[in-house]
């Protein structure tokens, strides 16, 4: 079990990124439904762990942050999901 992915928000961020090349901060906030500050804190932890990569750029005149999943993040996500499934398997059989 990955300690970092025990948070529902961080798990949501990784899940969003697993099916995308990249996703903007605004879109992550909209789809996960958390406040700016809350999401920023969780994303900071994922970036620090190198699970996701942050790219800052300008869209027109407005600054934009967008995120990509790293190989480390993908591996951690797959292992975490496998661990979650393992918890359920004995009861589901």
């Amino acid at each position: 079990m990955d300690e970092l992915l025990l948070s529902r928000v961080r798990l949501g961020v990784i899940s969003q990124l697993i099916a995308a090349e990249w996703v903007t901060f605004t879109e992550l906030q909209r789809s996960i439904g958390v406040t700016n500050g809350n999401l920023g804190t969780h994303i900071g932890k994922l970036v620090a762990a190198q699970y996701i990569k942050e790219e800052k750029r300008f869209e027109g005149r407005r600054p934009q942050s967008r995120y990509r999943l790293t190989k480390t993040g993908r591996q951690a996500f797959l292992q975490h999901v496998a661990a979650l499934q393992a918890i359920l398997e004995p009861r589901d059989q």
Partner: protein, 196 residues
């Protein structure tokens, strides 16, 4: 972690991934621009074959293609800005369209007037882009699948009616690209694009 929490987290992941990995954020303007390009080029060829006075291909082929390319670049940015993401399906669709378009363009520039009659290029383009529509359609969009079937049907039908060879392609481009583009634009304004 308890089983109820594990189940809840897995359902949360499943709910996100199941929706996200099928999203195709294709801008309707791309389909409409390329559809109009194909329709106009083939309609002009048909008009010439029917005896009407039509300007040389060089005067309208390249300007129309550059216009469609410009719309594609603009729409790509607009689409990403609107969706706030590029999904794996978006990347896949971009690669398929890009590769098919590139191969057709190279074949067109090298083979036309030498080994392949100019007239046959309409068949190359229609068949090639119907392959692209069918592949992307099978992965992510019933609308594009329908467009691919329409363009493929036109490619097959054109050979049976030599007098209307180019005209049938023009109709094929309308139903293969323009109509799906208009349906997508309409459904987007109604907020139903994801279901297509």
């Amino acid at each position: 972690m308890e089983t109820t929490q594990a189940r809840e987290h897995l359902q949360w992941v499943d709910g996100i991934v199941r929706v996200a990995d099928r999203d195709l954020n294709l801008h309707p303007a791309v389909l409409i621009a390329w559809g109009l390009f194909g329709t106009l080029v083939n309609a002009m060829h048909q008009a010439r074959a029917s005896g009407l006075a039509v300007p040389d291909d060089a005067t309208f082929h390249m300007p129309l293609m550059l216009l469609a390319l410009a719309v594609t670049v603009w729409a790509g940015h607009a689409s990403q800005k609107r969706a706030g993401r590029v999904t794996l399906v978006d990347s896949f669709a971009g690669s398929v369209f890009g590769v098919v378009f590139g191969v057709l363009l190279i074949v067109n520039l090298t083979a036309q007037h030498s080994v392949v009659p100019a007239r046959a290029m309409g068949l190359f383009w229609a068949a090639g882009l119907s392959i692209a529509l069918l592949i992307i359609g099978l992965h992510a969009s019933r609308l594009l699948l329908g467009g691919g079937i329409a363009l493929l049907a036109a490619s097959v039908a054109a050979s049976f009616f030599p007098n209307w060879f180019d005209g049938i392609f023009a109709v094929g481009w309308v139903f293969g690209f323009v109509v799906p583009g208009l349906v997508l634009a309409t459904s987007r304004s109604n907020g139903r694009a994801a279901a297509l």
